[in-house]
């Protein structure tokens, strides 16, 4: 199957021809019933994943983590420690998979690259005036180019939620297209900040908008607002990538971010992936967790499965 986004726009060229046609397309997407969506997400949340399935899910989840630090107080030392953790999540067990990536601010990309060099762990950088996205397009693009120049493998951009909520869909679209271009070979994750879009209808529309504009990943949140990734909004985005591939042949990844802290949570998300988008997405090329504390819980659960006894926080590293 095609794995680049280049043909996406091709299949739906007319849609993005004007603000009007884009609006008509997005508003013509099937509506989302809140109660039904949340009930489905909750129902999948009752799946009981045990023993071998749990072991599989934990390793898969670890391999999908974008280990993240996005603090004003980030220092090279902190980022190096994070990189080390991404490469060897559990120093006591070298069979533990590496995480998918480390995720940092643009000015930390070079440091991060160094820390994970040779491991296969990717470096993702937030950009476009993360997290608010309130800057001129030039500034945002400069931010992106800066990260790419420093070696970022992946760019996590934020959309202009203000423009989206004001109905200026074409503006949002064109901005994503420009960022995609500026990203070059780096894979582009488009963050919607679903908590600010507020309605599921908006999240569905934003998902299609992002995919039409060439997103490689659609991502729920920055982790900086009150409501971040939820099973329901992630389920909805999984439906969107599933339907988008059915319609265009282009596969797009999904990244829930923020608020996923326990193994139990992560496994529920993997169940959502498995039973909504399907097995094609059960790979860190197509699904990620934007998280930080999640990794240690996954490691403790992994140790528990291996040894039969419960682990404790002193047996995983605090980085």
């Amino acid at each position: 199957m095609p794995t680049t986004a280049s043909s996406a726009a091709h299949a739906l060229t007319d849609v993005t021809a004007s603000d009007g046609s884009l609006r008509r397309f997005l508003h013509g997407l099937p509506g989302v019933d809140t109660v039904g969506l949340e009930a489905r997400a909750a129902s999948l949340g009752t799946r009981s994943i045990k023993t071998t399935a749990k072991a599989y899910a934990i390793d898969l989840a670890i391999s999908m983590v974008d280990l993240t630090t996005l603090e004003g107080a980030d220092t090279p030392g902190k980022v190096r420690a994070l990189g080390a953790k991404a490469v060897h999540p559990d120093p006591t067990d070298r069979a533990t998979p590496t995480t998918a990536a480390v995720c940092v601010y643009p000015d930390m990309v070079a440091t991060a690259k160094e820390a994970v060099a040779g491991s296969g762990v990717k470096v993702a950088s937030v950009a476009t005036a993360f997290p608010a996205g309130r800057a001129a397009l030039d500034v945002k693009l400069a931010d992106v180019r800066d990260a790419v120049a420093a070696g970022a493998d992946e760019i996590d951009m934020v959309i202009d939620r203000g423009a989206f909520l004001a109905g200026k869909y074409l503006k949002v679209y064109e901005e994503i297209v420009a960022v995609k271009e500026a990203s070059g070979a780096a894979r582009l994750k488009v963050i919607f900040e679903t908590g600010e879009l507020s309605t599921y209808d908006n999240i569905r529309r934003a998902s299609w908008l992002g995919m039409l504009a060439g997103a490689d990943f659609i991502k729920t949140s920055t982790g900086k607002v009150a409501v971040n990734a939820t099973p329901a909004n992630t389920l909805l985005m999984l439906e969107a990538v599933r339907d988008f591939r059915a319609q265009t042949g282009v596969q797009v990844g999904v990244k829930p971010a923020g608020g996923i802290r326990t193994t139990k949570d992560a496994v529920k998300f993997l169940v959502l992936v498995n039973e909504t988008a399907g097995t094609d997405w059960l790979d860190n090329h197509w699904f990620r967790f934007g998280a930080s504390s999640l990794l240690n819980d996954l490691l403790m659960q992994r140790q528990k499965l291996a040894t039969g006894r419960y682990s404790g926080p002193d047996y995983v590293t605090v980085d």
């Binding site: 019933d33 809140t34 109660v35 909750a42 949340g45 908590g195 879009l197 939820t230 949570d265």
Partner: protein
């Protein structure tokens, strides 16, 4: 119908005594069925003699057949959509209009009830007045019954639902045998007040007030077919109605014990709602709502509510 020797028509008494002054010969009314807003004779062409309580001939009433019953059901079914779909306010207005029309023909009904039930004029007048008032009472119920027997249900979960009464459909009504007018209206008005349509079998012995009521209904803005009045043998007409697959309910008020049981058994074929005969001492007593609720279905409609936005759920 009766073994008793028939007397001549009341209006003709004194006729033939050779008196020099010739009293004007009155014009007799041909009583007809009321079906689908029209006044047909029985398709069978049969009539039977109706007498007053003393056995004096009053009229020949149509003796409805099973085919008349069938036609009446067709008319009632055809009328159901419009009548049940009318606003409750509109139904109330129509029922009130029936009362107005009756008031204008009060003396006619007093005479007919007096003849039918062997009552003095003043007693008959009480019956007619109570009957008119009964229409007024039910006219006021049309837009209240849903509030009294329906309502919202506080379900646990992100839903709300509403239970609403709806008319059952076509109701066969066996009018009471003794109370030819007040009893009749007391069973017909609650059926149609809520939006059902009715096929009514008049009191077998005293069908004339019922047949005359048809004339009133026809001039009261009541759509044709909402009430259909048949006269004749109660058992003969009721049997096909009880078995009819397009009749939704049956009120057995005018059936004796044995007939009621037979009809209830027949009614089971399509699970008609059956209102069994109950002893009524005094039809003039204020009715409760039971005769309305007997022919109402409760429909409960669920709707999701949920949160305003996508921010409510968590895991």
């Amino acid at each position: 119908m009766s073994d008793k020797p028939k007397k001549a028509h009341k209006g003709e008494q004194g006729h033939g005594d050779g008196a020099a002054e010739h009293r004007r010969l009155s014009v007799l009314k041909t009583y007809k069925l009321y079906v689908g807003g029209k006044f047909p004779r029985s398709e069978s062409g049969r009539v039977y003699e109706v007498t007053d309580s003393k056995g004096t001939w009053l009229a020949n009433a149509p003796r409805a057949s099973r085919k008349d019953a069938r036609d009446a059901v067709v008319a009632a079914r055809k009328a159901f959509g419009g009548w049940s779909g009318a606003t409750a306010y509109n139904r109330g207005q129509v029922l009130y209009r029936v009362a107005e029309m009756l008031e204008g023909r009060r003396s006619q009904f007093v005479q007919e009830v007096a003849d039918a039930e062997g009552l003095s004029r003043s007693k008959a007048a009480e019956q007619v007045d109570a009957t008119i008032d009964r229409w007024v009472w039910y006219a006021g119920w049309t837009d209240k019954i849903a509030q009294v027997v329906g309502g919202g249900n506080p379900v646990a979960g992100p839903f709300f639902n509403l239970s609403t009464p709806e008319p059952t459909g076509v109701v066969a009504v066996l009018a009471p045998q003794e109370s030819s007018f007040l009893g009749l209206v007391s069973v017909v008005a609650p059926v149609i007040a809520t939006g059902n349509t009715a096929v009514v079998i008049a009191s077998e012995r005293s069908p004339l007030p019922a047949l005359s009521l048809g004339e009133v209904l026809a001039t009261s803005d009541l759509p044709g077919g909402v009430v259909n009045v048949l006269s004749g043998g109660t058992a003969e007409i009721a049997a096909p109605l009880a078995a009819h697959q397009d009749v939704n309910a049956i009120d057995l008020a005018g059936a004796g014990e044995e007939l009621a049981k037979e009809l209830e058994i027949a009614a089971a074929d399509n699970l008609k709602r059956v209102l069994r005969p109950q002893p009524v001492d005094d039809w003039s007593a204020t009715p409760g709502i039971d005769r309305m609720t007997a022919f109402l279905e409760t429909k409960t409609v669920w709707h999701p509510t949920g949160a305003l936005g996508a921010s409510g759920s968590s895991y």
